[in-house]
Symmetry: C2
């Protein structure tokens, strides 16, 4: 039901603005999102955006929500790609590793979207529907529960373990995008990420 007729009224400015903002953020980073910049990309007057968003912040938050959805899909895709011929124990830890690698690789392949996804943690602009994919945080909880059920992680270790995982993974991404790992090649960064994830998994599953 898209009105593609290009009249005085744009037809679906809202979607066009979001898409233009995503393009801009991917190329120039989330910080480059400006109201005039985005509307200019669409070829429309700056104030036209105010018919669809309360202010710049609302626009950015909406775009950020979309970015978080893409991150979530990227993670889920990677989780589904795990070879299914594994025992539940090995499989669950592989899923944790895949989660971390997907997170880091999303950050390093599209840093602007990663920045947006991080910024999306504030409440959505209005009572927006929650129809998207499960948020990354919930995916992680599921993986940890799976590890506990499979017996690779002691139940006592499960409590609040998500924050240990989230810290490692988010820290890796942050160092890669904004920190001292910026200059590294993609392969080197992935190698360090694997190392950190190995250490994390060992820490979660070690006996002592």
């Amino acid at each position: 039901m898209k009105r593609t007729s290009p009249g005085y009224h744009h037809g679906n400015l809202r979607s066009a603005l979001i898409e233009a903002a995503l393009d801009l953020a991917r190329d120039k980073g989330a910080g480059a999102l400006g109201l005039r910049e985005v509307t200019r990309a669409v070829g429309v007057s700056p104030n036209a955006a105010y018919r669809h968003f309360a202010d710049l912040r609302a626009l950015v938050l909406t775009v950020a929500l979309e970015a978080r959805h893409r991150l979530a899909r990227s993670i889920v895709d990677r989780l589904d790609a795990i070879t299914p011929g594994l025992g539940p124990a090995r499989r669950s830890t592989e899923r944790l590793r895949a989660f971390g690698l997907a997170y880091v690789e999303f950050a390093q392949s599209t840093p602007g979207w990663y920045e947006l996804a991080c910024a999306s943690q504030e409440a959505p602009p209005d009572g927006v529907e929650e129809g998207g994919p499960p948020p990354p945080h919930l995916i992680l909880l599921g993986i940890l529960d799976e590890m506990t059920r499979a017996g690779v992680m002691a139940p006592a270790r499960r409590t609040d373990a998500e924050w240990s995982c989230w810290s490692t993974v988010h820290g890796l991404a942050e160092l890669r995008v904004h920190g001292p790992l910026q200059a590294l090649s993609g392969e080197e960064a992935v190698r360090l990420a694997r190392l950190a994830l190995d250490t994390l998994i060992r820490g979660l599953t070690a006996k002592s």
Copy 2:
């Protein structure tokens, strides 16, 4: 040798600007640092700052360097406060734990300075002297070497282990300051930080 005479010439505007910027950053965050805002706080014309800094970015980077020094001092203080009656093995892991806790608590007590310290990783504005305390990164390297020497960490594990540590610690701070741990009480945040550091240390030192 401070000229405190308040004439037409300020006397030591550069230091005053840096101090005002630090105050502003502590109260309103590093993002609130504006050229006009800082000069206004000192009570001076906006362009006066250009006599001491090339542009806003140079000012912020200088202030950021000072913030990183404070972070480093905060870490060193905490390291020195460790009870010296410990064996080298136990002592080295306690030092790693103290490093992480100091980092996270610095971030949660002065988020604006923490943001600045992170931003200081770009090159200093000009060929500024390196006279300050050792940068946090080097402190961490020393602790890990100490752990290896003490035998609590296998030498093979030492390689690139700093990035695993840095990820965990920086991730914790980031979640605390900008992420979903914002709403937590200080004690709760520290508890989660201890948990994550336990997992990290276990991962670094576990046998298997």
